[in-house]
Subunit: 105 residues, 2 copies
DNA sequence: TCCTTTGCTACATTTATTGTAGCGATACGC
DNA sequence: GCGTATCGCTACAATAAATGTAGCAAAGGA
């Protein structure tokens, strides 16, 4: 496997940004975190509760990645919230909600 | 942690189907596979090539999951393609393409 | 001061993914 | 028939990621 300088952009070897985005969102809890933050900001622990008590290790890792991507930010008074960009991203896959209701596995 | 009979539906403990969907899509290569199949059907090896030579182990695992979910099907003459449902799902997060172009990390 | 909560981290265990190789089945040309 | 190529799919050891539990320092309230 060809080593790249930036290991954070797996799946973006084609240079197409959608691949990088798909890769970032395709990590465990990424989509869920964005989903849970769609409303008001949550503290790290409230987020953890919302995410079925996912381990703080991954949550913290995902939050860092999502922050570096510019989708999530840590408010001054504490608590994680979506940036305008993150809110926009969240809106793009919000139709999944209705889709999932019809799907129901 | 409360054990459930169905371990495949992690993240759906709330009973909300969107959680199950978010969890399924939040596994490595799930989103990418749907993305690559958005056009014409691909053989398992063509899909592997499209997915940056991802290991056939995961690809096969994801394909099985996506098939069980009813999003992907194996055509009679060979080759994987999206079901009408899968095509619908794919369409819901297709706006990500344009979003990613504006984002560009 | 004591107690609580904040964001965040250590670390050992468990699970998932990777990379490589190869299977049986099917279909070609020769 | 024979070799060769492809199909979907699997085994398996090595590596990377996630889990679960515990706990840190800092900030704030009582």
């Amino acid at each position: 496997m060809a080593k790249q300088a930036d290991t954070k952009t797996r799946g973006s070897r084609t240079g197409r940004p959608v691949m990088a985005l798909l890769d970032l969102l395709g990590r465990r809890w990424s989509l869920r975190i964005l989903w849970e933050l769609r409303g008001e900001p949550l503290t790290s622990r409230a987020l953890r509760t919302a995410c079925d008590e996912a381990s703080p290790t991954v949550l913290q890792a995902r939050l860092t990645e999502l922050r570096e991507a510019g989708f999530v930010e840590l408010g001054e008074g504490g608590g994680y919230g979506l940036t305008p960009l993150g809110r926009e991203l969240c809106a793009t896959f919000m139709p999944l909600h209705r889709f999932a209701e019809r799907w129901r596995r």
